[in-house]
């Protein structure tokens, strides 16, 4: 994510979408029994040129996008089509969806397609950073390019064989047919000749008409790993082994930047099965993804390694962050957000408008650090031998990890190979390959293949945490209670502090996640970033800074609605204002406005689309209906990863303060949808993930060390309190409306929708996350 920053210039706004046709199409076939409620809202195509060129930010990512079919597709003589998946699979379904698009466009029979996971090699495959909700957004068209090229090559090979013009043949259903003579050749028979042909130029490709799609947009294709997952055969990081392999667990310094002062490993070495105890060199805060250091116990079994680690006696030197405490940091953040910061957006004159406002409505919202806690804790296997290193791991950025390993050990990139297993969840944690470097280091030291297994305690105590922040907003109202000024001050620790010495400032990526791109129609808007210093490693966590921003913006909007005696949804729509595409210059956004790395003219901030999802979710949820005492509806919406999501959450708060969620309605506009079934699963997941973040997720530093350690004090929403029915409403578009993010944008609106609902149920306003025991009576 931070390997590159795309500085977007921008051009004229696109002509607006044409008529909106709303048809309620029952899509019962596509998700039998999973309570799918998909609404079809058809926007007419509005940009024919975009269809041809499909501009998106993928080319601006490090190593860009590759659409060479020979890199991704091979065909066996028996007709088996092998498609390389080059993005990491962590639950979003991209390992299925992207190859499915290739297969559809090449007229392959999905039952004869095999998926092979690509190793980390961006020179070959293009960018592989699986984060930022980019997999489909950046690869939907390249996948079609690949499929169309292979189809064309197969057709040319058949035409050659039949000595006819290619216009007389057509690929259909895994074979090429002669249109008039009725001749047929299977893909297997044509494979060798076809794949030896020159790859056609993109301009010569013919793409399928959307009506011809077999798999794309249908939601009928099951994820490729489904059978393996349900039978225990799916391979995650800790499931790979090599002959002679040893397993290691590491005692890491409790405080980032800490060091071993003294250690006694005699008892550890006495544990049967323990082979070695190895110190790993540490690194201070700001060392990117280098290991934290510490003492590794290397053993013949995981159990022996764990017992050995328990038997270590270590005295730590805490280092410069040994006095950091969350309670103090919260105070610092509040003080920082309470004073002027550095402007990141200036529209009109917010200071003057606040000074002359009839009154100013001010609220402040706080969120502590959070840990990703993917179900699979980090793990990696490395074999370091003869100056070369091969790694297997649950890595979101395999090529990034390859570069980090090469740099750490002074190897050439060609001497490092990184293989990607399935990821048991990632959420941003596994973009950082510190655990792979640990495995490589230990393998080199002990001269055998080594698997490093992180325990849950390791995972929660040594993460790259979600930012901790205070978001303070002042809204100036005129004499008629009309908002005329908006000032948002954000004091948030930045992931920049993980990459370089901390200057207390945020990265444009973080600023672009809801701070500067706030879409309300208010005459005077100012956004400022205020200094915030990190005391632990900060990273990106599913939806990143959008979480505290959406929480603050959507909470204060509801609070102000209450203050003014207005309906929260109506007032939110009024704040968003007229349906329009934000003119970024007039809005006072800087030239380097991030816009999620996408060209603004094709991915503008479109308040019409934001309004639409709000209206859709509200309508489906029966906004305004009366509920029994102790129940409430809450609404929130947010644009992130260039998608638009609104959520209505219904809560029930028991007398003892117990929160349950009978249902949610989540409406998403993410452009064209290749796999609606996986969009639905991501939205259902986002409801749970957002609820967990709101209810439970808080990391506490005491004397620099993380207090929480496992699910007893860092709990998760479970089967007895999850949102019982998450209704997903997907806004449908034709292909020409760019596919946008799905994996992350569902999360940000869930937290404020939940806390707004809690307020409506109980009158208790949550401004500090997590909710924890704040509702307990």
């Amino acid at each position: 994510m931070l390997r590159h920053l795309n500085l977007q210039a921008t051009g004229s706004a696109q002509p607006s979408a044409g008529r909106t046709i709303i048809e309620n199409v029952s899509r019962r076939g596509f998700l039998k029994g999973t309570a799918a409620f998909a609404v079809v809202v058809q926007f007419l195509p509005f940009d024919a040129e975009a269809y041809e060129t499909y501009p998106h930010g993928g080319q601006s990512m490090p190593n860009g996008v590759v659409n060479n079919p020979l890199v991704f597709v091979s065909i066996d003589r028996d007709g088996t089509v092998t498609i390389k998946a080059h993005r990491s699979e962590m639950g979003t379904g991209s390992r299925t969806s992207i190859p499915m698009i290739v297969a559809d466009e090449m007229e392959a029979d999905w039952s004869r397609v095999r998926i092979v996971q690509a190793e980390g090699d961006e020179k070959k495959y293009g960018n592989q950073d699986t984060d930022g909700s980019r997999s489909l957004r950046h690869h939907i068209q390249p996948a079609r390019d690949i499929g169309a090229a292979v189809r064309r090559m197969l057709e040319e090979a058949a035409a050659k064989r039949w000595e006819t013009d290619v216009a007389n043949v057509q690929a259909v259903g895994h074979e090429v047919v002669h249109k008039t003579l009725g001749l047929r050749l299977g893909y297997g028979e044509l494979a060798e000749a076809a794949m030896a042909l020159p790859v056609p130029a993109r301009a010569d490709l013919r793409f399928k008409d959307e009506k011809e799609f077999r798999y794309i947009g249908k939601g009928q294709v099951k994820i490729v790993d489904l059978h393996d997952i349900t039978t225990g055969k799916a391979v995650y990081a800790a499931d790979v082994s090599l002959p002679g392999m040893l397993t290691a667990v590491v005692a890491r310094p409790p405080v980032v930047g800490g060091k071993v002062k003294s250690a006694d490993s005699a008892a550890a070495l006495a544990v049967p099965g323990v082979v070695n105890v190895v110190e790993i060199p540490g690194s201070p805060l700001g060392s990117k993804f280098k290991p934290l250091g510490g003492i590794a116990v290397v053993a013949r079994s995981t159990w022996a390694a764990l017992k050995g680690r328990d038997a270590l006696t270590i005295e730590w030197d805490a280092g410069p962050h040994g006095s950091a405490n969350t309670a103090d940091q919260e105070k610092e953040l509040r003080a920082s957000a309470g004073a002027p910061g550095a402007p990141v957006r200036d529209q009109g004159d917010a200071e003057a408008a606040l000074a002359s406002a009839a009154r100013v409505f001010t609220r402040e919202y706080y969120q502590p650090h959070m840990a990703h806690a993917p179900m699979e804790p980090p793990a990696a296997l490395a074999n370091f031998a003869d100056g070369k290193c091969e790694v297997w791991g649950c890595l979101q950025s395999p090529y990034g990890a390859r570069g980090d390993i090469a740099e750490f050990f002074g190897l050439g990139e060609e001497d490092v190979k990184v293989n990607v297993t399935l990821l048991g969840g990632g959420f941003g944690r596994k973009s950082k390959g510190d655990f792979a470097i640990e495995a490589a280091y230990l393998s080199r030291e002990v001269g055998a293949p080594v698997r490093v297994q992180w325990t849950r305690e390791d995972d929660i105590r040594h993460s790259f945490y979600h930012t901790t922040s205070v978001e303070k907003i002042d809204i100036g109202l005129d004499a008629n209670d009309k908002p005329v000024a908006w000032r948002h001050r954000s004091a948030a620790t930045s992931f920049l502090s993980t990459f370089a010495p901390d200057e207390g400032v945020q990265h444009p990526v973080e600023i672009g996640m809801g701070l500067e791109d706030m879409p309300f129609e208010i005459a005077n808007v100012r956004a400022e970033q205020c200094k915030a210093y990190a005391h632990t490693r900060v990273g990106w966590y599913r939806a990143v800074s959008n979480i505290p921003r959406a929480f603050a913006i959507q909470s204060i909007t509801a609070e102000l609605a209450d203050e003014l005696g207005r309906d929260q949804k109506d007032f939110l729509l009024e704040m968003i204002g007229t349906p329009r595409k934000l003119d970024w210059r007039a809005a006072g956004l800087p030239q380097e406005f991030w816009n999620n790395g996408e060209p603004y003219e094709h991915f503008p901030i479109d308040t019409g689309r934001l309004r639409h999802v709000i209206e859709l979710a509200a309508d489906k949820a029966g906004w305004g209906k009366s509920l029994p005492p102790g129940e409430g509806l809450g609404i929130a919406a947010h644009r992130s990863f260039v998608s638009y999501v609104a959520a209505v959450v219904r809560v029930k708060v028991g007398e003892d303060g117990t929160v349950s969620v009978p249902e949610t309605h989540i409406a998403i506009d993410c452009g064209f949808v290749a796999n609606p079934e996986r969009v639905q699963s991501q939205m259902q997941g986002a409801c749970v993930f957002g609820m967990t973040a709101a209810m439970y997720s808080g990391i506490t530093l005491e004397n620099g060390a993380v207090v929480e350690s496992n699910f007893h004090d860092y709990d998760m929403v479970r089967a007895d309190n999850f949102p019982q029915v998450a209704h997903t409403h997907i806004v449908e578009h034709p292909f020409a409306v760019h596919a946008t993010g799905v994996g992350e944008p569902g999360v940000p609106p869930i937290l404020p929708a939940l806390t707004n609902a809690i307020f409506n149920a109980t009158g208790k306003r949550i401004r500090n996350l997590p909710i924890g025991d704040q509702l307990q009576t």
């Binding site: 179900m375 849950r456 749970v688 089967a719």
Partner: protein, 150 residues
């Protein structure tokens, strides 16, 4: 020497009797479908059957399994078509998949003990199994489907 049966095969183990079943199953037997998620009985990723009862493999030791019959996900059904597995596939339950073998082992033990559980029994019976991806709605739907066929 500890004797036990795993997926119908008789096994002997002469290592540390306090070894959790989870690590015995994974490291010694190479049956990787049983997962480590927390090591403290809080997540259910390691769920296996001990004489038909769902237990947490990270808590139960090999010594405690002496003389018992252990089933892991690999032994749940010879062809992988236990009704719970089929229901899981019918409803496209998994996201990342990591928790799912534990969920399936928990659900199959629940249904063996209570073939037509009420919704409340399902929620309570499954609450020890965390799914960080948040597949609960489909998990509960799949348990219901496996129990009733719809």
């Amino acid at each position: 020497m500890i004797s036990l049966t795993v997926n119908g095969v008789e096994r002997q183990f002469d290592g540390d009797p306090e070894t959790p079943l989870l690590w015995y199953i994974r490291d010694e037997l190479g049956l990787n479908g049983t997962k480590y998620g927390c090591g403290t009985g809080l997540c259910g990723a390691c769920t296996v059957h001990l004489d038909g009862q769902a237990v947490r493999g990270c808590l139960a030791t090999v010594a405690e399994a002496e003389g018992t019959s252990v089933s892991t996900i690999e032994g749940l059904s010879p062809d992988g078509n236990h009704p719970v597995q089929v229901a899981w596939r019918d409803l496209n339950v998994p996201q990342c998949g990591f928790c799912q073998t534990g969920q399936i082992m928990q659900a199959s033990a629940l249904l063996a003990a209570s073939p037509s559980p009420s919704d409340q029994e399902i929620l309570e019976g499954m609450q020890g199994n965390i799914c960080r991806c948040g597949c609960y709605q489909r998990i509960v739907g799949a348990v219901r489907r496996a129990s009733t066929g719809v």
